[in-house]
C-alpha cells in the first residue's frame, strides 16, 4: 500500500509538473536530437518527423530539433545508442514495443529498463489480410482452409510483433502456419499482391494503398471493437466495416503496436517532465489529428504508471508466446 501510494504520488507529481509551466522547470539549452529506431520512411521515422514538424511549426520549444535515423538491427541500434547516452536529456528515442520485446528474444545489448519511458503516443492496429481474389470471405473460412493446408503468412522481421501475432492465431485457431519474415510490412504486402503468400497481418497504413487498389482486402481486425468509420477506402467499404476477429470466431481480442517515446536512462524527473509536457502539447495540435488520421492510427497517450502497466501486460503476453516457441534468450 505504501509503495503504491508513493508511486501514485510521484506519478501525480510528474503530471502536475507537466501541466504547470513552473518557472523552475527544466528547459533545453541546446539542440534536441530525435532518434528514430527505424530507417527513413518507416512508421517510427514518420512519427519522429511529424512530431519534429509540429514542434517547429508551433514553436513548442526554443531549441531546434533534428531527426537522426538509427534503424540498424531492427531498431536495436537506436536503443543501444539511447542506453549509451545515459544522463543526456537531449536525445529522445522514438520506437515501438520493440523496446521491451526485442531483448526477450535476441541477445541485444539493451533492455527497456535502460531507458526512461516518456509516453506511448499512437497505436497501430493489426488486421488479417488476404489477396483480393482469395475464396475466403470471413476469418472463419480462412481458418477452416488453413486447417487442411499449411498457409504461408508473411510479416515484418522475425520473432517480432507480426510473428507473435501469427503464433497467437495458430493457437487460437488450432492451425499451423509457415511464417516468412521480410524486412518490412510493405514488402509483405507486395508479396501477397503477387500471390506468393496466403496472408499477412499488416497495420492499416501498410496496406491502405493495396486495399484501395483492389489487390488485397482485410478479413478482420484484432481489436475489441470495430475501428472508427472514417472515410470510405474502397467504393463500398471503410475501416469501420471491417469486422473484429472475435466476431468471426478468431478469439484474439486485442493486439496493438504502440509508438513509444523514451529518454536515455539517468535523466532527472524535471527533464522527463519537460518532454512529457512537450508531447502533450504536440498531441493537442490539429496537425497531430491530421497525422493520426492520414496514417490510420489510433490516438492514444499513455504515460507514467499507465504506460508502465501497459508494458508489463504486453511483456506477459509476449513472454508466453516466446516461451512456448522456445525463443527466449537466457
Amino acid at each position: 500500500m505504501g509503495r503504491t501510494s508513493t508511486f501514485l504520488l510521484s506519478a501525480a507529481a510528474i503530471l502536475l509538473a507537466g501541466t504547470m509551466p513552473a518557472l523552475s522547470a527544466w528547459q533545453p539549452q541546446k539542440p534536441i536530437e530525435f532518434v528514430a529506431t527505424a530507417g527513413p520512411g518507416g512508421g517510427t521515422d514518420n512519427l519522429a518527423r511529424a512530431v519534429q514538424n509540429i514542434i517547429t511549426k508551433h514553436k513548442l520549444t526554443e531549441q531546434p530539433v533534428v531527426v537522426v535515423n538509427k534503424g540498424g538491427g531492427s531498431g536495436a541500434e537506436g536503443y543501444v545508442y539511447g542506453k549509451a547516452s545515459a544522463g543526456d536529456p537531449y536525445k529522445v528515442i522514438f520506437g515501438t514495443s520493440n523496446a521491451w520485446q526485442q531483448p526477450l528474444v535476441s541477445k541485444v545489448a539493451f533492455n527497456y529498463t535502460d531507458l526512461t519511458p516518456i509516453a506511448a503516443m499512437a497505436q497501430d492496429e493489426f488486421l488479417l489480410w488476404v489477396k483480393q481474389d482469395s475464396p475466403f470471405k470471413t476469418a472463419g473460412d480462412y481458418l477452416k482452409a488453413a486447417a487442411s493446408g499449411e498457409f504461408k503468412m508473411g510479416g515484418a522481421q522475425s520473432k517480432d510483433t507480426d510473428e507473435v501475432l501469427t503464433r497467437m492465431i495458430e493457437k487460437a485457431g488450432h492451425v499451423k502456419m509457415t511464417y516468412i519474415p521480410f524486412k518490412s510490412g510493405a514488402e509483405a504486402a507486395v508479396q501477397l499482391a503477387g500471390g506468393h503468400l496466403d496472408s499477412h497481418v499488416n497495420n492499416p497504413s501498410e496496406s491502405l494503398g493495396q486495399w484501395r487498389g483492389g489487390t488485397q482486402r482485410p478479413l478482420c481486425v484484432f481489436s475489441p471493437k470495430r475501428l472508427p468509420q472514417g472515410a470510405k477506402i474502397t467504393a463500398t467499404e471503410g475501416w469501420g466495416d471491417v469486422p473484429t476477429c472475435v466476431e468471426q470466431g478468431l478469439d484474439i481480442k486485442q493486439y496493438e503496436q504502440p509508438r513509444t517515446v523514451w529518454l536515455p536512462g539517468k535523466v532527472t524527473p524535471d527533464q522527463a517532465a519537460f518532454y512529457i509536457d512537450l508531447m502533450k502539447k504536440v498531441q493537442a495540435t490539429p496537425d497531430w489529428k491530421d497525422y493520426i488520421e492520414k496514417s490510420s492510427q489510433i490516438d492514444t497517450f499513455l504515460t507514467g504508471t499507465e504506460f508502465d502497466n501497459f508494458i508489463k501486460e504486453d511483456l506477459e503476453r509476449v513472454r508466453l508466446v516466446a516461451g512456448e516457441q522456445g525463443w527466449l534468450v537466457k
Partner: protein, 524 residues
C-alpha cells in the same frame, strides 16, 4: 496512346515558373549533397522533407525528385575524382572513371559520365511513361525465389566475367558475405558476428566500407607509389566537355545495352547497384576493348553510369504503383507521400493523375535541367584535380572521416572505415579484386534473405528455383554466365599441352608473366 495525352497534361503542370525554379533549386541542392562527404541522396532528401509539408504534393515531389537527380549526378563526381563512391550504385563508376581522371582526363571522364547518365535516365523515364501498367505487373511476379535469382544473376555476371583469378574472386566474395552477415538477421532475428561489440548490432554500413576500401585504400597505395597526377591542362576545357558528349553516339551499343540492363534491373527488384555492376561486368566481357577495362576506358564509365541512372529512374515506378521503394531515397520519398496524404499503390495512377503525371513530366524536365547544370560545373570540378597531392591527400582523409562519422554519428564507424582502408590497401597489394567484395557487402544480405525465404516457402526444396518459367530462365542465365568463362577457357587448355610440347623459350615465358602482372594491376 492514352498515356501520351496524360503526359502532355503532366508537362503543363511541370513546366510552370514556380516548378522550374523548384527544379533548379532541387538540382543544385542535390549536387551539393552528392558532392559533400557522407551526405548523399537519402539524407539530403530527408533533411528537405519537413520543408515540403506545407507544399502541394506535386511541387513537393518535384523538389525532392530534382534533388535526387542532382545527388545522383553529384555522387559520380567524387567517385571519379577521388575514388570515393558516395552511393553504392556509383562504385562501378570508380573502376574506370578514377583511372581516367588520374590519367589527366578528368573533364572527359566527368562529361562522359554525365552524358551517359542522362541517356540512361531518359530511357528509364520513357519506359515509365509508356509501359507503366505492364511494368507494375512484371514486378508483382517477383517472389523470394525470383528475387534470389536476380541477385544470383548479378553475382554471376560479375564473378564469371571478372578478370581476376577465380579463387581470389571467391575469397573476396566470401569476406564480403561475412561482413554483410554482421548485425541482426532478418530471418531468424538473432544477432550475428558482433564479436562482443554492442554497437555492431546495426551491421556494417556500406558507405563506411567503401570510403575505407576505395578512398583510404587508394590513398595508401598512392602515398607508397609517390603519387603524381599527370599534368592537367590549366585551361578550362569547355570544348572537351562537348567533344566527350559528341563522342557518346559512337558507343551506342554500350549505351543501349546498359540502358536495357538498367531498366530491367530497375523494374525487377535488383536495383541500381546490381544494375551498374552487372552492366560493367557484361561490358568488360563483350567490349572490343574489354581487356583495357580498369585503366580508364570510356565504355567502362558509360556502362555503369547508364545502367545506374536507368535503374534509378525506372525504380521509382514500383514505388508509385506498388508501394515498394527501390532505394533508400525512394523510401524517404514514399514516407513523404504518406505525410502529404497520398498512398502509394495501384490507385495512385487513378486517383492522383495530376500528381503522377506531373511527376513523370518533371522527370523529363528535371533530368534535362540537372544535366545542363552539372555539365556547367564540370570544368570547376575538373580543376580540383590540379590541386597538388599534398593538399588533396589530407582532404580525402577528412572527407572519408567526416563521411563515415555522419552516416550515423558514430565513432565506431570512423574506426571501421580506417580498418577498411587497410583491407583495401592489402587487397590492392595482393591483387585481390575489390569489386566482388563490395558487391557482396551491398547485396549479400538481401540475397541471403531471399534464399532463406524461398527455402521456408518450399520447405527446403531447391525445386522452387525451377518452379516457373521466369525463375528458371533467371537461374539458367546466371549459371550460364558463371560457367561461360570456363567453357571459353577449355579450348585454350587443350592447346596448352601442345604448345608446351613444341617448347617455349624462356624469353617468351618472361614476357607472358610480365603481361600477366600488367593485367593484374589493371584489375581493381
Amino acid at each position: 496512346m492514352d498515356n501520351f495525352g496524360e503526359l502532355l497534361h503532366g508537362f503543363s503542370i511541370a513546366i510552370t515558373v514556380p516548378h522550374l525554379v523548384l527544379m533548379v533549386v532541387g538540382v543544385l541542392l542535390g549536387i551539393l549533397v552528392g558532392v559533400l562527404p557522407g551526405l548523399g541522396a537519402p539524407n539530403g532528401v530527408s533533411l528537405l522533407l519537413p520543408l515540403t509539408f506545407g507544399m502541394q504534393p506535386v511541387s513537393a515531389i518535384i523538389l525532392l525528385s530534382s534533388m535526387y537527380w542532382g545527388a545522383l549526378f553529384g555522387g559520380s563526381v567524387t567517385s571519379i575524382l577521388f575514388n570515393i563512391p558516395g552511393e553504392p550504385s556509383s562504385v562501378a563508376t570508380t573502376f574506370d572513371g578514377y583511372p581516367m581522371a588520374r590519367d589527366g582526363r578528368p573533364t572527359t571522364a566527368l562529361a562522359t559520365a554525365f552524358g551517359s547518365a542522362a541517356f540512361g535516365a531518359l530511357v528509364g523515364v520513357i519506359l515509365i511513361t509508356f509501359l507503366a501498367s505492364w511494368v507494375a505487373q512484371v514486378a508483382l511476379a517477383f517472389g523470394p525465389a525470383e528475387y534470389f535469382a536476380v541477385y544470383f544473376l548479378a553475382f554471376a555476371s560479375f564473378v564469371g566475367m571478372g578478370g581476376a583469378a577465380p579463387s581470389k574472386t571467391l575469397v573476396a566474395l566470401a569476406i564480403g558475405f561475412a561482413i554483410a552477415a554482421i548485425g541482426i538477421d532478418t530471418v531468424s532475428g538473432s544477432v550475428r558476428l558482433t564479436m562482443g561489440v554492442d554497437e555492431l548490432v546495426k551491421g556494417v554500413n556500406f558507405v563506411v566500407a567503401v570510403m575505407g576500401l576505395f578512398g583510404i585504400g587508394e590513398l595508401l597505395v598512392a602515398v607508397e607509389e609517390e603519387f603524381h597526377a599527370r599534368a592537367v591542362s590549366t585551361k578550362i576545357e569547355w570544348r572537351e566537355v562537348f567533344r566527350a558528349i559528341g563522342r557518346l553516339p559512337r558507343h551506342s551499343v554500350a549505351l543501349l545495352r546498359s540502358a536495357a540492363i538498367g531498366c530491367w534491373m530497375g523494374i525487377t527488384p535488383g536495383g541500381p547497384t546490381a544494375a551498374s555492376f552487372m552492366s560493367y561486368g557484361i561490358a568488360r566481357r563483350f567490349s572490343r576493348r574489354g581487356k583495357y577495362f580498369g585503366a580508364g576506358e570510356v565504355e567502362g564509365i558509360i556502362s555503369p553510369e547508364t545502367a545506374d541512372h536507368a535503374a534509378g529512374t525506372s525504380a521509382l515506378l514500383p514505388m508509385l504503383s506498388l508501394g515498394i521503394p527501390g532505394s533508400a531515397t525512394a523510401a524517404v520519398m514514399m514516407g513523404g507521400l504518406m505525410i502529404w496524404g497520398l498512398n502509394p499503390g495501384p490507385m495512385l495512377f487513378v486517383d492522383q493523375k495530376d500528381f503522377v503525371w506531373g511527376l513523370i513530366a518533371s522527370m523529363y524536365v528535371g533530368n534535362i535541367v540537372a544535366v545542363a547544370l552539372v555539365l556547367l560545373t564540370v570544368p570547376v570540378f575538373a580543376a580540383l584535380m590540379r590541386i597538388p597531392f599534398v593538399i588533396i591527400a589530407p582532404l580525402i582523409v577528412i572527407i572519408c572521416v567526416v563521411g563515415a562519422y555522419s552516416v550515423s554519428n558514430s565513432y565506431l564507424d570512423v574506426v571501421m572505415m580506417l580498418g577498411f582502408g587497410i583491407v583495401g590497401y592489402l587487397f590492392k597489394k595482393l591483387f585481390y579484386p575489390l569489386a566482388p567484395l563490395v558487391l557482396a557487402i551491398v547485396i549479400g544480405d538481401k540475397a541471403e534473405d531471399a534464399f532463406r525465404q524461398s527455402m521456408l516457402m518450399s520447405k527446403g526444396s531447391l525445386g522452387i528455383f525451377f518452379a516457373n518459367k521466369l525463375v528458371t530462365c533467371l537461374i539458367v542465365a546466371g549459371i550460364t554466365l558463371l560457367l561461360l568463362p570456363l567453357v571459353l577457357q577449355l579450348p585454350r587448355l587443350w592447346r596448352k599441352p601442345a604448345s608446351a610440347a613444341t617448347g617455349t623459350t624462356a624469353q617468351e615465358k618472361a614476357q607472358e608473366t610480365a603481361q600477366e602482372t600488367a593485367r593484374e594491376k589493371v584489375i581493381i
